[in-house]
């Protein structure tokens, strides 16, 4: 779903970044956030709401709404729409409120 050509914007070719979504290897590109990389791969459902278990994706894409929270490298409640994608990241759909681990 990446835009191939654009009349106004110059979309430079950028190096790919491999990462894992629910264990499956996917690729984003440099400059992606976690949410943008997932969206480019056709993944829209990012989490399930905490009580009603409704599917949720991002809504605002600027870190306001907390609708895009996911588990990233084991850490829950990461706002994926403003978190830069990094190579090898393990991203998972968040179900429930998540568990934390001491660092």
């Amino acid at each position: 779903m990446r835009i191939k050509e654009h009349p106004i914007l110059e979309l430079a070719e950028k190096p790919p970044i491999p990462f894992y979504f629910n264990g499956k290897k996917l690729y984003g590109i440099e400059g992606d956030t976690i949410a943008s990389a997932l969206h480019a791969n056709g993944v829209k459902k990012l989490s399930e709401s905490i009580h009603l278990k409704r599917p949720r994706g991002f809504y605002c894409a600027i870190g306001n709404c907390a609708s895009c929270n996911m588990v990233v490298d084991g850490e829950p409640n990461v706002r994926t729409c403003i978190t830069p994608l990094k190579e090898g990241m393990r991203v998972e759909n968040q179900q429930g409120k998540g568990h934390i681990h001491a660092k």
């Binding site: 979309l11 829209k44 994706g57 991002f58 809504y59 605002c60 894409a61 870190g63």
Partner: protein, 361 residues
């Protein structure tokens, strides 16, 4: 905690011009923006701006951004730019709590200019939380910042300038805009924008709204319906559009949380979609040394935001004791620019809102 002479929060059109004026006057500026790149909404604005040469009319937003950031360039030694930095707390002693990535830190500003802009409103309809229902700004971010299409077929909700412009931008990205619905009985934005998408085949339906999003894990269709005089949906007029994205562009609300945290006096102004700070003629809030400008103080076009940023910046610089060349004359001229920009029918709402705040227009 670091002490700063002047802190500008928000690197959009208002923040950039405020920072420029402060620097030009001789002040040191710490410019904070939560995004990777400065520019606020300018980074996504691929269309040409209205207004006059003074506000860079006929230049695209993305090109105006370049002009504004280049202008800051020559003050490199007095300018500190903190990008990907979010101000998360604002305390009464003018201490800002900031977050950059995993790091938390505090700054204290002698003068603070708020140019935090606005956030998009959400809309209550069935399954309004289904993935694929996106705010218009999110769609713009996705397309124009990350080069990603939000979907293949979109229903646009709202005919203000944002809804109209984003519809056009979607088409430029190769996305089909299946229709645009507007709850009011007429188009909200500039008619030139509306005509621009209509002649390319986008149906604009007034007195129509989205009833529900349909889909299991993401949007597969949208049901729209006609509205009656009381803005209520009329049973039996429902029809289904096959879309994978519903783009919500139903207006903006000023981002005044931080100001309110520090106890700045605000007033609810319906025309501006929420609480806005009460300002004096220098764009200073009820807290001494705290200024505000841009969409945060009234929802308007970026052209006006740039002018307001200059006024706030000049005044903040003067209050720091800097001599600003021709300050009185320039401020007068800037107020005149605002008056011009707000003088026509699109400015009706702004003038009405400002009147409620006791601001002469």
């Amino acid at each position: 905690m670091q002490n700063k002479e002047a802190i500008v929060i928000g690197g959009g059109p208002a923040g950039l011009t405020a920072a420029f004026e402060l620097l030009q006057a001789g002040a040191s500026v710490c410019l904070i923006d939560r995004n990777e790149r400065l520019g606020g909404q300018l980074t996504k604005q691929t269309h040409m701006f209205f207004g006059s040469e003074k506000q860079y009319a006929s230049h695209r937003g993305i090109d105006i951004l370049e002009i504004l950031t280049n202008a800051l360039g020559k003050y490199g030694n007095k300018l500190e730019i903190l990008t990907q930095t979010t101000v998360v707390g604002m305390y009464r002693d003018k201490v800002l709590a900031c977050v950059k990535g995993d790091k938390f830190f505090k700054l204290k500003g002698e003068k603070i200019v708020f140019a935090t802009g606005a956030s998009e409103k959400a809309l209550p309809f069935e399954n309004n939380d289904l993935p694929g229902v996106y705010a218009a700004g999110a769609v713009q971010t996705l397309m124009n910042e990350y080069g990603i299409k939000p979907g293949e077929k979109v229903l646009m909700v709202g005919s203000g300038n944002i809804g109209l412009i984003v519809s056009y931008q979607l088409m430029q990205a190769g996305v089909e805009v299946v229709g645009l619905v507007e709850a009011a009985d007429r188009i909200g934005g500039y008619l030139v924008h509306a005509s621009k998408i209509k002649r390319l085949g986008v149906d604009i339906l007034t007195k129509t709204s989205v009833k529900r999003a349909i889909g299991k894990e993401s949007v597969e269709a949208a049901e729209i319906w006609d509205l009656d005089e009381q803005w209520q949906g009329i049973e039996g007029t429902e029809r289904t559009l096959e879309v994978d994205t519903i783009c919500v562009a139903v207006g903006l609300a000023p981002l005044t949380e931080l100001l309110q945290q520090m106890g700045v006096k605000v007033q609810y102004v319906r025309e501006f979609g929420g609480n806005v700070p009460v300002l004096d003629e220098n764009y200073q809030t009820s807290v001494e040394g705290v200024y505000a400008c841009g969409d945060l103080v009234n929802i308007e076009e970026a052209s006006s935001a740039m002018v307001e940023g200059r006024i706030a910046g000049i005044n903040a610089a003067r209050s720091l004791g800097y001599d600003v060349e021709n300050a009185d004359f320039r401020i007068k001229a800037l107020h005149h620019e605002l008056k011009d920009l707000r003088g026509g029918p699109p400015g009706d709402k702004v003038r009405k809102g400002l009147k409620k705040l006791g601001v002469a227009t």
